[in-house]
């Protein structure tokens, strides 16, 4: 199957691998509302048949599979005691959406948050709309729909109260969990009104009156804590790995060590001797590439995970390593570099870059390397499945609940409506848990065994059999005129594409990868050319938090530092000069421009906003301050996930290249926001992830196999190496500034800001990550 000709198989980011547009079905949900009921008393989710029209919500949300559902009866229920239950239909992996989205509903419906409970939605996109929690889009896609849902509920409650009192609806007002008739001083609580409110027609979206933001109690304040806070601190929060069912068996799987390899034979006799091991069996695998289908291998089934792991250690397995057995990282890097030094597919062209480079007074060339990275979510993949006959139920930490439902149904050959997907908390996501292979493995094993099965990945499984961040060489040639002005910019990006995980033979990066910092480069330069030379993948490539923005921001912002150096300018001044005049960047020369799935006119590249975050971080972060000897300041700015962000790092390079990050300042403009406290948390965390990948992040291959396996040889930053202080500066939103991404934009600018700071401290320019031992001498 060629996915490029089967766009219906694609979801979310995946859809942008396709050639044609996918039609969004405006599904009538009337039928599915029949018989729908949320447990526990009254419900706005009563089977009312006059569902308002599908909301024409003008963002990328509508282009996602199953679009957006705006219906209070689906998301809100009110019990007679007044407890309001709001459905969270997106996955919680640490960003706070499980709190933020219900909070938006509560704000608009005038619910008192202390009387709100959050209920996690099952994977059901027909009912809830798209559930792919990725691409930093939960708030940007759902701020308005959630406000509309809350406003609808409020309006129904007010209508019910007005009817009961026999007064015009204009005289009543919902406030703090009750409806008040000011003229007579009467008031009724939401719980008492619930049953009547459910009988009210759902108002049309056009008729809704949204709250004036100046009256917000919760939104934009950052005073509400995440709903799982207490459970997390007492050990009650339930992640996928924590699910236990009666009669459940525990499984670990030996998978082919090389991507595309397969099982030849196995001997489980020794494994069966391990205390607690009950069975050794083959797991079906799919040939590479096959999207998220399991790799196959040999499963060891036991009464507990420890026994299963010990049993797996005792397995004797013969593998056929297949077509990628020669994948080797040193040679591959050379291949990428060679490709980057030759012309490639032109993906953006303005002016005449060849002539401009030829005529330039000076040409600066930078070649930047960034290796494969593994997600290493603290919770390695784990899933529980209970398959009985033609019914399947899954419990797992899933970023893509709806997609998983489709994939489980297809993999087991059963109808989608027979598949129940329970989404647990995610112990980290970062894109890894957008791929449901681990849930499919559990489903296949449970089907065979006829009992509930938990599949647990070990850390080594996670590092060696995941979907890695790509590996890339980014080559930039910048031409300067005799006045030191940049007049030419050629950027070649060579990296195996995520599309290769879906379709054999994909050698060019997909539009969504090219749109992450390559073709959307915002600098005001007369001659620009972006190229994408081809290269084949030899392992499974997948989304990793921030995706291609990581290597692109590293390259582009390092080059800014190099240009500042070449022209003896201040880094920030150079950066602002390159960003140029305040304007909307004209990207009309880019064919198939991908703007994070958003219409370009709603979310254009506005250089005024990019300039402002640079200026804000420079002011708040004390750009230009004098620092002790051995220390340096570096700056970088990048737009990604339609947010604008700039970071300053103060680093000390000590003996043997020991790095101490004294201070990090980041300014973010993410438009209208819901919870500034969680934005701060995301940006603090992004600095840690950025520092991890800059200092240590590297997965390498030899003989087709990943050479790392755990935190000893794939280290991440620990608290004793963390920045001493991280400050986050959030730009107040402009009027009507739509919300944009938060989860991912913080990562890309960190590494180049650090590298620019290291240059300022030492005069050494690091062009290949990780830094590793490069500063030791």
């Amino acid at each position: 199957m060629n996915i490029l000709t089967n766009p219906s198989k694609l979801r979310g980011f995946e859809r942008h691998i396709k050639v044609e547009k996918v039609k969004v079905e405006n599904v009538s949900r009337r039928s599915i509302l029949k018989g729908l009921g949320i447990a526990g008393g009254f419900v706005l989710a009563a089977p009312v048949m006059s569902r308002p029209a599908f909301a024409a919500y003008k963002t990328g949300a509508d282009k996602m599979p199953h679009g957006t559902v705006v219906d209070p009866r689906v998301f809100v229920s009110i019990a007679p005691d007044g407890i309001v239950t709001i459905v969270a239909h997106r996955a919680e992996m640490g960003t706070g959406v499980r709190t933020s989205l219900p909070l938006i509903v509560a704000e608009e419906m005038e619910a008192d948050w202390s009387r709100v409970r959050v209920q996690q939605a099952r994977g059901d996109e027909v009912k809830y709309g798209n559930q792919d929690t990725d691409g930093s889009r939960s708030t940007r896609h759902y701020l308005m729909p959630m406000r509309e849902i809350g406003a609808s509920a409020r309006s129904m409650l007010e209508a019910a109260a007005a009817k009961r009192w026999g007064v015009p609806v204009t005289e009543v007002k919902a406030a703090n969990h009750e409806v008040v008739h000011a003229a007579s001083g009467r008031r009724i609580g939401f719980g008492d009104l619930a049953a009547d409110a459910a009988k009210q027609p759902v108002p049309s979206i056009e008729s809704l009156k949204l709250k004036d933001p100046k009256d917000f109690r919760y939104l934009g304040k950052g005073e509400i804590r995440i709903v799982d806070l207490r459970d997390i601190t007492v050990g009650k929060a339930q992640y996928g790995a924590d699910v236990r069912l009666p009669g459940m068996k525990y499984a670990v799987i030996a998978r082919p060590p090389v991507t595309g390899g397969k099982l030849v034979s196995f001997d489980g006799a020794e494994a069966m001797k391990v205390s607690g091991v009950e069975k050794v069996m083959e797991v079906k695998g799919w040939p590479w590439p096959s999207k998220f289908q399991p790799l196959g291998g040999v499963a060891v089934i036991a009464r507990n995970t420890g026994a299963a792991v010990k049993g797996r250690d005792a397995l004797k397995v013969v593998w056929d390593d297949g077509p990628n057995a020669k994948y080797e990282s040193v040679a591959y890097r050379a291949q990428l570099e060679e490709a980057a030094r030759k012309p490639g597919l032109v993906v953006r062209k303005e002016g005449d870059v060849d002539a401009a480079l030829k005529g330039a007074d000076k040409v600066i060339v930078g070649e930047y390397y960034l290796p494969h990275l593994a997600h290493v979510t603290m919770e390695p993949p784990a899933a529980v499945a209970d398959v009985k006959g033609d019914k399947a139920e899954i419990w797992a930490p899933l970023q893509s609940a709806g997609g998983t439902r489709e994939d489980v149904a297809k993999t087991l050959g059963i109808p989608e409506e027979n598949v129940t997907i329970n989404v647990t908390l995610l112990g980290g996501g970062f894109g890894r848990k957008s791929k449901c292979d681990f849930a499919l493995e559990a489903a296949l094993l449970s089907k065979e065994l006829g009992v509930p099965v938990k599949v647990q990945w070990t850390r080594e499984d996670d590092v060696r059999h995941g979907f890695l961040h790509t590996v890339s060489v980014e080559r930039i040639e910048a031409g300067l005129d005799k006045n030191g002005k940049v007049i030419a910019w050629r950027h070649r990006s060579v990296a195996p594409t995520i599309a290769s995980t879906f379709a054999a033979g994909a050698v060019h990066e997909a539009a969504f990868e090219l749109g992450m910092g390559l073709v959307d480069m915002p600098f005001e330069i007369a001659n620009i050319q972006c190229e994408n030379p081809e290269v084949a993948a030899h392992t499974r490539i997948g989304w990793f938090r921030s995706v291609s923005n990581i290597p692109r921001a590293f390259a582009v912002q390092s080059m800014v530092g190099e240009l500042a150096q070449a022209t003896n300018r201040d880094q920030k001044d150079m950066l602002l000069e390159l960003i140029g005049s305040p304007r909307i960047v004209d990207l009309s020369s880019v064919k198939d421009l991908w703007n994070y799935g958003e219409p370009y006119d709603s979310y254009p590249i506005d250089t005024a906003r990019l300039r402002r975050v640079v200026e804000l971080v420079a002011e708040k972060g004390g750009w230009g301050r004098s620092v002790p000897k051995g220390r340096g300041l570096g700056i970088a700015a990048h737009r990604s996930f339609v947010s604008y962000i700039a970071t300053i790092v103060e680093v000390e390079v000590g003996e043997k290249g020991k790095l101490t990050v004294h201070q990090v300042d980041t300014a973010i403009d993410c438009g209208t926001y819901v919870n500034p406290e969680r934005i701060q948390a995301q940006i603090e965390g992004a600095a840690i992830m950025g520092l991890s990948l800059a200092k240590y992040g590297e997965i390498t291959f030899k003989d087709g196999k990943v050479q790392q396996g755990n935190f000893d040889n794939f280290p991440v930053i620990r608290i004793d190496e963390a920045p001493l202080v991280t400050n986050v500066h959030i730009m107040p939103p402009g009027p009507d500034s739509p919300p944009s991404g938060v989860g991912e934009p913080g990562v890309p600018p960190f590494a180049p800001a650090l590298i620019n700071a290291i240059f300022a401290a030492t005069g050494k320019r690091v062009r290949a990550l990780p830094i590793g031992k490069q500063l030791e001498t």
């Binding site: 601190t233 009464r303 995970t305 420890g306 603290m378 980290g428 996501g429 755990n710």
Partner: protein, 150 residues
Amino acid sequence: MIKVKINSQEQNWDGDPDLSLLWYLRDEAGLTGAKFGCGQALCGACTVLVDRQAVRACITSVSDVVGREVTTIEGLHPTGDHPVQKAWRDANVPQCGYCQAGQIMQAAALLIQNPKPSRDQIREAMAGNICRCGTYQRIENAVHLASTGV
């Protein structure tokens, strides 16, 4: 048959005495607060207290804790209001939360040994616990808060 004491409760285990304490707790005893993160004492997600000292349950066998007191996050405080737990909430530490039970147990062990650790001592004592979300600044602040009240 082995007898172990978890959160003040005696339990019997008739399976493999070499089974790691982590999988015993999670899969056999149903105490899933301690998490699996690496299996090699590299990340600290499985940290529990054994006789009031922080121990990585993933490399400790069930037989190792015979005759000793094991405390997991579930048993740290009867109402979940240990000063460290409260500080974790006051400082809004968690993001995904998966590593935090291990972090809290490590911090609780630190404060048993050193009730007023310096910032450097906090960073040193907590360096065995990885948080991939990157909540370290808040972890440091929360431990400081738990020990000083500010």
